[in-house]
Symmetry: C2
């Protein structure tokens, strides 16, 4: 069995991410970026990253050289943005072996450095990203304006160029119908919350992404502090709602959550939609101590069973029905091993 | 793990039962049976039964001395009839340790000897009952008329005094909506089929009881032969429907049946109604080889989790909610142990 260490507030916060958007000052911005300049972006960045202290841990992935499922898998594991795939021919990513640092190349901006950690660790994610950012900047200066800050292809990112986000698991708040209140509250703080998967108001797996909107007029520290404070408030609210649900009828709660465990380890056909619903149930059960399974292991499995990642596991293009079969098979084979008693 | 041996046609036939209704010729029949005569019935019968070859294996149970749950438990395990409980003050039963032979005393008739075996074993059940019947008759003659045969309290049983029945598990026939056809077919043979549990057309657990109607004008051998032949036809039909369901979409069938296994081993609250539905699923799954659990073990568990039996396990009067909790607890604790891999 793999060993998993719990990260801060991981009962509610799945991961924390900080992204910095940067552009080399002497190369044309995205709209005018030719194939040659795009290659120059990749070479410069690789040159610096491979020569940092942990450079050997990085892999350079050119999007054009990957199968579609392999690219989708990177998105599903939050290692790259979905938008990077809009520029498949020129885009690349440098990914650290642990997946905690990624550098996206030739997305909307030349360089997007990402720090990604489990649980609520925005400060640490920002530190990681800023450290690599400094290594790059010290060698090849980025476009920077004394008044506006870092210049970016889209004005929405100009300033700090920093976007931070956390992925939240909010089954109890969702069940209590309180997501609307949460949305209004965070909007007042200049933050936004939306379902991570699904369309419209649907949040598959009861997963939400909280992110900052403004990149102008606030320092990196201020933004991270505000994001962390808002996250902590939501965490406390979710915890109190879980406790209330348990207090109301613990057996009923255990019954409904643990039945999903039974379905997951016995099903022969499992759609992605049903899987997300049941993943939410067993993550909730594990956070309450009803099920002795490590949250990081459940989250890893959740990403591994998304459509693209599943395709990579299959090693070939698979039909929706084959996906349902493979997802159920992997669940039966691997899920019971996550439980410690 | 207990060892279970498969009985003939046990994939479809749960058990076979033969009952003989008899009355001592020198004692008044049911309507005029006083407490003293009822006691005489018990003493005579016990005297003979305890002194047969396997007499030491029998226990005499006086209904008036048992708690209500303990009495209900005997009905649920098919050891006595529900009707025996109409005469609690005078009624008794002699039950063999394996439960295969029971003598009901002071029900509608003085003596009802029952042979009960798993699977399709009507001939053997009849032999067992007739052997004990002969032992009783040789000592204390039964009311018999050369023209009418054995005389009984109700004319419906006069003649052979024999009722035979089998309990059938028909999930595939039920799912295909063909129970109506089966009912019409057996009616033409002088037989009747009805849901074993549930009211009206409902058959909880997809369990049905097939029994003979006529006791006059046909020999015991004829009736048993007709019952066995009809049962075999239904067995073949059920098997072909199961094969058809598997052929149509095996994964879909496995998926729907095995999910019930997951629910049974994970639930914290389980109503009797849901339990019967899921028991039917896993019995079906086991008969198809999807689940490596012994059918006799599943059937025993099914009886053990009926309301009265559950009350006996609890050792006290329990509320419906407590029943749901205890049923789920026993399933989680005991069901996984039935599976061999």
């Amino acid at each position: 069995m793999r060993e998993f260490v719990m990260a801060p507030e991981q009962d509610v916060v799945i991961s924390s991410r900080v992204r910095l958007s940067r552009n080399y000052e002497d190369l044309p911005f995205s709209p005018k970026l030719t194939a040659e300049y795009a290659e120059e972006v990749i070479e410069r960045t690789a040159d610096v990253v491979f020569n940092t202290e942990h450079g050997a841990a990085f892999t350079l992935l050119r999007m054009g050289e990957l199968e579609e499922d392999a690219r989708t898998r990177l998105v599903e594991h939050h290692l790259i943005s979905y938008d990077l795939l809009k520029f498949v021919n020129r885009a690349a990513a440098m990914v650290s072996s642990a997946g905690t640092i990624t550098v996206m190349l030739n997305e909307e901006d030349h360089v997007r450095v990402q720090g990604l950690l489990p649980g609520l660790q925005l400060e640490r994610s920002a530190e990681m990203a800023l450290k690599l950012d400094e290594a790059l900047e010290s060698r090849y200066p980025f476009a920077f304006d004394a008044q506006w800050g870092f210049l970016t292809a889209s004005p929405a990112n100009t300033g700090t160029g920093m976007r931070s986000s956390v992925i939240l698991h909010l089954p109890a708040i969702t069940a209590a119908g309180q997501t609307g209140v949460i949305m209004q509250t965070v909007a007042k703080l200049g933050l936004a919350i939306r379902g991570l998967y699904g369309e419209g108001s649907e949040a598959r797996g009861n997963l939400y992404q909280l992110s900052n909107q403004a990149t102008l007029g606030r320092s990196e520290e201020d933004v991270i502090r505000a994001m962390s404070a808002a996250t902590r408030q939501i965490v406390e609210h979710e915890r109190s709602m879980r406790e209330a649900a348990e207090k109301k009828d613990m057996l009923q709660l255990q019954d409904s959550l643990m039945r999903s465990w039974g379905e997951l380890i016995c099903a022969r056909l499992m759609t992605g939609r049903e899987f997300m619903r049941r993943y939410s149930d067993i993550r909730y059960a594990a956070s309450m101590g009803y099920l002795h399974a490590p949250l990081p292991g459940l989250d890893m499995m959740m990403m591994d069973l998304q459509p693209g990642s599943l395709g990579v596991r299959a090693g070939k293009l698979i039909s929706p029905r084959e996906s349902e079969i493979l997802r159920a098979k992997l669940l039966r084979e691997e899920l019971p091993g996550l439980v410690s008693d």
